[in-house]
């Protein structure tokens, strides 16, 4: 065990030495990996931010039904009875206009505006929760309710939120596909870097094989080199994403404030950052492994 650890420590030190000796070419390789990885990592961070924004909105199959101004209590009772009798509707909640005004007043930044009003402009409303959440059912129900004489306006709240959620899902899939595509690129970059390293160390490899080095011994420093290069690229990618979000948040904050929101894009969570690093390291290791397996076989002592 001790000698095994010693062998790995030697290989790691040798890999660090090789990485340091690469100088500009090593930096360029890490930069290529970093830029490539920052695209899906940054896309993921943006989508997470948008998803958190969308998750603040109810995704339940909800329809808001607003009565006409001047509607009587009888109109409200009649509509309530009709809604409760409808088998497609699971739950009905009546929101009196006074309660709606209180809710509006409680909204950040609107208290002064509400106080300035000389009368309550809000109508009585019903919040209807449908049993079926399909957009087609919701749209049909909303259209039917719009035809009720006492109803002024019907709003299917969940539809746009569902669309946003669907877009977020689509975005996540696109990010995954992009990550998979760029992973191939990252493996190819590492494959080529290690190939060049093997070629420049051809003499050393040949002599090592001649005097009894196992393939595992020869392979190990190159695998560590691939791993280190991947990790360096991953760290650069995180740096690029952090910088990008920092710059973006400056503008986002200004925009969000106009909506009375403190929304901003958060940097990747610790777990996600670790996953980016591990993913980059694993791809570097894979690229190195493929390269070493391919080219070490070609070097045979004569």
């Amino acid at each position: 065990m001790r000698s095994w650890l010693r062998q790995h420590r030697r290989a790691l030190i040798a890999a660090i030495g090789k990485l340091a000796a690469q100088k500009a070419s090593g930096v360029v390789s890490a930069l290529v990996i970093g830029v490539a990885l920052s695209l899906p990592a940054g896309g993921y961070a943006l989508l997470e931010g948008l998803s958190s924004l969308a998750s603040g909105v109810a995704l339940e199959p909800q329809i808001s039904v607003y009565l006409k101004p001047g509607s009587t209590k009888d109109d409200a009772h009649a509509l309530a009875a009709r809604l409760k009798a409808d088998a497609r509707i699971g739950r009905v909640r009546f929101v009196p206009r006074d309660e709606a005004l209180k809710e509006l007043k409680a909204t950040e930044g609107l208290a002064d505006v509400v106080d300035a009003l000389d009368h309550n402009p809000l109508p009585d409303a019903f919040v209807v929760l449908a049993r079926d959440s399909s957009p087609v059912t919701l749209a049909a129900l909303a259209a039917e309710l719009r035809r009720v004489p006492s109803v002024a306006h019907v709003q299917a709240d969940a539809v746009w939120a569902r669309r946003l959620a669907s877009l977020a899902r689509l975005g996540r899939l696109a990010v995954l596909l992009l990550a998979a595509l760029l992973a191939f690129g990252l493996v190819a970059v590492t494959f080529n870097t290690i190939r060049l390293q093997i070629l420049t160390q051809r003499d050393e490899i040949e002599v090592s094989k001649l005097i009894g080095a196992t393939d595992a011994f020869i392979r190990r420093p190159f695998l560590y080199l691939g791993l280190l290069q991947g990790l360096a690229g991953g760290a650069l990618a995180l740096g690029i994403v952090w910088l990008g979000l920092y710059l973006l948040n400056g503008e986002v904050r200004t925009l969000a404030q106009t909506y009375g929101s403190s929304f901003r894009f958060d940097f990747l969570a610790r777990g996600d950052s670790s996953a980016v690093l591990l993913f980059a390291g694993a791809l570097g290791w894979l690229g190195a492994s493929l390269s070493v397996s391919r080219y070490l076989l070609e070097i045979q002592p004569k």
């Binding site: 010693r6 003499d203 002599v207 001649l210 005097i211 009894g212 196992t214 011994f217 002592p301």
Partner: protein
């Protein structure tokens, strides 16, 4: 310790370099292998550490059939053999000490023991004090002595040298051969290919003369 049984070697697209060679070398022997250029000396030596594989026949080293050895087992065979080449095969981007540490780095020795062995090997070949030099700064004879130090640093039971004196002047060649003789005197089996018959005669040891792929002469002192 080493035996060849009806060994033939044919390179792809070439002629037979060795033709049914059979011989046996005991532990502790010093054997000169002579013959003209192309007689098969280098090929015969390369069959022992499995750098080349025989086309037919078998090569046995320390009871191990090298001809049938799995590729993964070859490094472990080579660690028990000290190999010295005509062109030394040193690493010229490394110091003398680093060249010597290369075989020690995969022998699982503790760093202190490895350093001790490296200094001992340099001492044996008269290069102690030149650890930091680059091999390119050494003379031809010194480079060959460094190659010997690298070959013996893992204390092999067998030393195999292919034309180690080929490019050296008489004095340097004599000094290199003295080192091989000294190792043989402490029990190391030495196989040494050379075409320098004067040196061979001087030491009066067993001589295997190869000619046209056959053992033409096997003369014991």
């Amino acid at each position: 310790m080493i035996s060849f049984s009806a060994v033939s070697k044919r390179y792809p697209g070439g002629q037979d370099v060795l033709k049914g060679v059979s011989l046996s070398i005991d532990a502790g022997e010093l054997v000169f292998i002579t013959g003209h250029s192309g007689a098969g000396k280098s090929t015969l030596l390369k069959l022992i550490p499995a750098i080349e594989r025989p086309s037919t026949g078998s090569v046995i080293v320390n009871g191990q059939n090298v001809s049938a050895l799995r590729p993964a087992a070859i490094p472990f065979l080579r660690r028990n053999l000290g190999l010295v080449f005509q062109d030394q095969k040193l690493l010229y981007d490394r110091s003398v000490y680093e060249n010597l540490m290369l075989p020690l780095s995969f022998s699982n020795l503790a760093p202190r023991e490895a350093a001790r062995r490296a200094r001992a090997a340099l001492d044996k070949v008269g290069l102690l004090g030149r650890e930091k030099a680059n091999p390119i700064q050494l003379s031809g004879g010194e480079q060959q002595r460094l190659a010997i130090a690298r070959a013996v640093v893992n204390r092999p039971a067998v030393l195999i040298a292919d034309e180690p004196t080929a490019n050296l002047d008489a004095e340097a060649a004599r000094r290199v051969l003295e080192i091989f003789v000294a190792f043989n005197q402490v029990g190391v089996t030495v196989l040494l290919a050379t075409h320098d018959l004067a040196l061979v005669t001087h030491y009066g040891r067993r001589v295997l003369r190869l000619a046209s792929g056959h053992v033409a002469e096997d003369s014991a002192p």
